[in-house]
Symmetry: C2
Subunit: 200 residues, 2 copies
């Protein structure tokens, strides 16, 4: 039955598009994502796909939000309730590496790939990625700072530096696995994270 459908059905379709878009973008990049391939994979017309978002840029932005929701649910939510500082930081790293070891998207961590794809570009997609990544960095950095104040880390450590390094290690899991042939990438990264956190 072609033609307009109910609001609920439209929302389901929208989510299905976003799921497929995130899968495709995780492999081919947010720029490699095309409306035509997305439509044919979903058995829809291009107009049907683009109609939910208005433009490819809006589709990219919605895909970023979708991936951020997945990341939050998998990495932040399980650790959120724990004590701020080193305990929560270690729980975040565990959840993060569990997620990276068994990623929700076929191309691995969405934000790692998107960060490297858009770091040197300009425009709304770059801005959206930067905002999400910065927000996550601030969360990490805050717990690192709490740990430093609590004496759980060296007092001369830089919270920003440690947060950046944790992000760098986490982002490397997919390339490590696919390029360096390291099947235990997530476990190796977890070990290095703990060394940086001085908690072996």
């Amino acid at each position: 039955m072609a033609g307009r459908r109910s609001v609920a059905a439209a929302r389901d379709t929208r989510v299905a598009i976003l799921r497929a878009a995130a899968d495709m973008a995780s492999i081919d990049g947010l720029d490699g994502l095309t409306v035509g391939r997305l439509a044919s994979e979903l058995g829809m017309s291009k107009a049907g796909v683009i109609g939910h978002f208005g433009s490819k840029t809006e589709l990219q932005l919605a895909t970023i939000e979708y991936a951020a929701d997945v990341f939050r649910a998998e990495v932040w939510t399980p650790a959120e309730h724990l004590e701020p500082g080193l305990p929560r930081l270690l729980a975040i790293c565990d959840a993060w590496m569990a997620y990276a070891g068994k990623p929700a998207f076929p191309g691995g961590c969405f934000f790692a790939a998107a960060s490297f794809e858009y770091d040197s570009k300009t425009g709304p997609v770059h801005d959206a990625i930067a905002e999400r990544v910065q927000r996550w960095h601030e969360r990490l950095s805050a717990d690192v700072a709490t740990a430093i104040e609590a004496g759980e880390l060296p007092t001369d450590a830089s919270a920003d530096r440690i947060a950046h390094s944790l992000w760098a290690l986490a982002a490397s899991v997919t390339p490590n696995r696919h390029l360096h042939r390291d099947t235990d990438a997530a476990d190796h990264v977890k070990t290095s994270m703990r060394i940086l956190l001085g908690a072996r």
Copy 2:
């Protein structure tokens, strides 16, 4: 004067194309690279550009080799003559971060971007990147192993794990600078590298 030119002139043109291709790929990705934009930027025709390589894939592979030559000259050559083990490793990290802090390409480290772009793809471009990255990993890992044997690092450390972590930290410099707004990214990474190497 249009038309065929000498062998030497053709080689110069080829290098100019590769330089522009590496610049473009460092920002837009090896896939975002297009023959048409490259041609217009160089004031050439598309046929003139593609004629040097035969196909876009061959152009991509040649660009990878070009970028590898630059990386080797900037990072490996200055440290090559030093004593294998921790001394050479520290010199490599210094040269690497000097390079990352003042990169040869406008989009930052070419291989970091290419690694994340192609880690989940298949085909000759992926294979070429994987081979270059693995080769570099083996070089790093060999010096880490030498350092472990010499007692300069903990005997229970994993050479592969440390080499992977150094690579992860190095790769993060450009996204750290452009996305996390960290202007001292290279210095921060150098500090974390030294912590991982137990040599603060």
